[in-house]
């Protein structure tokens, strides 16, 4: 009985999390433009999506910003972890506190503060400001993923490599790097996801000229969102789902690494 209740609850939460996603995927095949009407099966929104330059440029911006910001954040964040680990507990605590600010701060405050900063220093709002903003909020996700791995590092293996004649750089890439790689990868993935899903901070830092998918969708909320955007999001979601399933499948044992 207890087992049944547990299963039931898990299924309920799962449906709660994924029902809107299922609804959107179904609606992307809806002939009708209106969310609440089913006008029959159609692929027209998938065609429409590729023909809309507005959507395509928003998609390009979104993916470019997500890729660039997560790569840069991963490099800066990983380097920072290696350095923070060497510091005294006191300065380590101060820096980790600093790292927590964008995590705990409200997105709206982070967004507004960055906007004020860009304008105050005369940086015109556009692609570059969105990129900077995304790097800023992505770094903490990388640090929080990589830091535990760095903490688990066995200093003696690195020292053993030096003892056996490796240069520090060689020892790092052959010994340290493979050990923290799972943390770096999950940090990168998390950063990419957060960047992709962000609306609020982008909303304040983007200026008038450019759109990401989020801001494009928000601008269409009032007049009704074109189902082409459902189609696009469905493609994104399903391709990531398949990709992650493929990655996770063969190495079930490595699952605890993330």
């Amino acid at each position: 009985m207890k087992k049944f209740l547990e299963r039931f609850y898990l299924v309920f939460i799962f449906i709660f999390l994924y029902a809107p996603i299922a609804a959107l995927v179904i609606l992307s095949f809806n002939e009708s433009k209106y969310m609440s009407q089913w006008g029959g099966f159609s692929l027209k929104w998938y065609v429409d999506m590729f023909e809309s330059s507005l959507i395509m440029s928003a998609l390009r911006n979104t993916l470019l910003i997500a890729a660039l910001s997560s790569v840069i954040a991963t490099i800066i964040g990983t380097a920072a972890c290696l350095a923070i680990h060497q510091m005294k507990p006191r300065s380590r605590a101060v820096i980790m506190g600093l790292t927590n600010i964008p995590m705990l701060n409200a997105d709206i405050v982070t967004g507004i503060s960055l906007m004020l900063c860009f304008i105050a220093f005369g940086i015109s709002l556009g692609f570059q400001t969105v990129l900077i903003a995304h790097i800023t909020f992505n770094i903490p996700y990388v640090i929080l993923s990589v830091m535990p791995k760095v903490r688990q590092l066995e200093p003696s293996t690195y020292e053993a490599a030096l003892d056996l004649g490796a240069t520090p750089l060689y020892a790092f890439f052959k010994i340290t790097f493979p050990d923290i790689l799972p943390g770096i990868l999950s940090g990168f993935l998390l950063a990419f996801t957060m960047s992709l899903d962000d609306f609020i901070i982008t909303h304040f830092t983007k200026g008038a000229g450019i759109n990401t998918l989020s801001t494009l969708i928000y601008s269409e909320v009032r007049k009704g969102i074109r189902p082409s955007l459902y189609a696009l999001s469905s493609i994104l979601f399903v391709s990531v789902l398949i990709l992650l399933l493929i990655i996770n499948r063969p190495k079930r044992n490595a699952e605890k690494n993330a």
């Binding site: 969310m35 380097a79 506190g97 989020s214």
Partner: protein, 272 residues
Amino acid sequence: MKWTRKLLAGPYLIWMAGFILIPLGLIFYYGLTDSSGAFTLENIMAITDPQRANSLWRALKLALISTVICLAAAYPLAMILKRIAKNRSSLIVFIFVLPMWMNFLLRTMAWQVLLDRNGVINNVLGFFHLPRLNIINTQTAIIFGMVYNFLPFMVLPLYNVLMKIGNDVVEAAYDLGATKVQTFFHVILPLSVPGIISGITMVFVPALTTFVISNLLGGGMILLIGNVIEQEFTFTSNWHLGSGLSLVLMVFILISMALIAKYDKEGEGGAF
């Protein structure tokens, strides 16, 4: 070697100083000055205006209710996940992070379809002859959206902190005569406090400050403090007033940070 390694933190420190500390300083500057640059508390006192005070009060109320619901829903969930998903933490993170690949605004909008008067949920309820839900464009819908969007941020820290509680302390409690209920209240619950605090913060802060969920599910009629601030920046362009109101919001954020610092020194309540 050790000294050069510390240099690796350089880019990070410069970045965080430039794009976290200076921008926050600017909010303080704008919030505490008027358009001529003179010091004033007017922007902060503006919160006492009945309409703004109401929006803050409403946001606090909705955020609090959502946080309580998230905690109540997530705690048993995390307990179940701990039991059935030993050593599979990346799968759990996967399940809760994956929905973010479907755009946040679209996911939230989709609830409109599902919750609609003639939507899927009401049709299912009708099929079982249950009373229909009529919550679209109400505060209930906003709470619903908050719980939906922020539940993962409650589940993950709780799951992480519960996974760290060793089976041996639980057995020790049974051994010393505690029943399952006593063990829960005297051992498991107190040990999971860092995760609870972390989860509460990660749900309460974004719920308190959101303007998107209220916009999407409240039909644009229900204003929260986030909506008021957003409008000061995007429509009225009164940055001083907007910054002043943001400072008011930051009081709550600071309280959350202080709580985390107090109860989660080791950072063990982290979500990821």
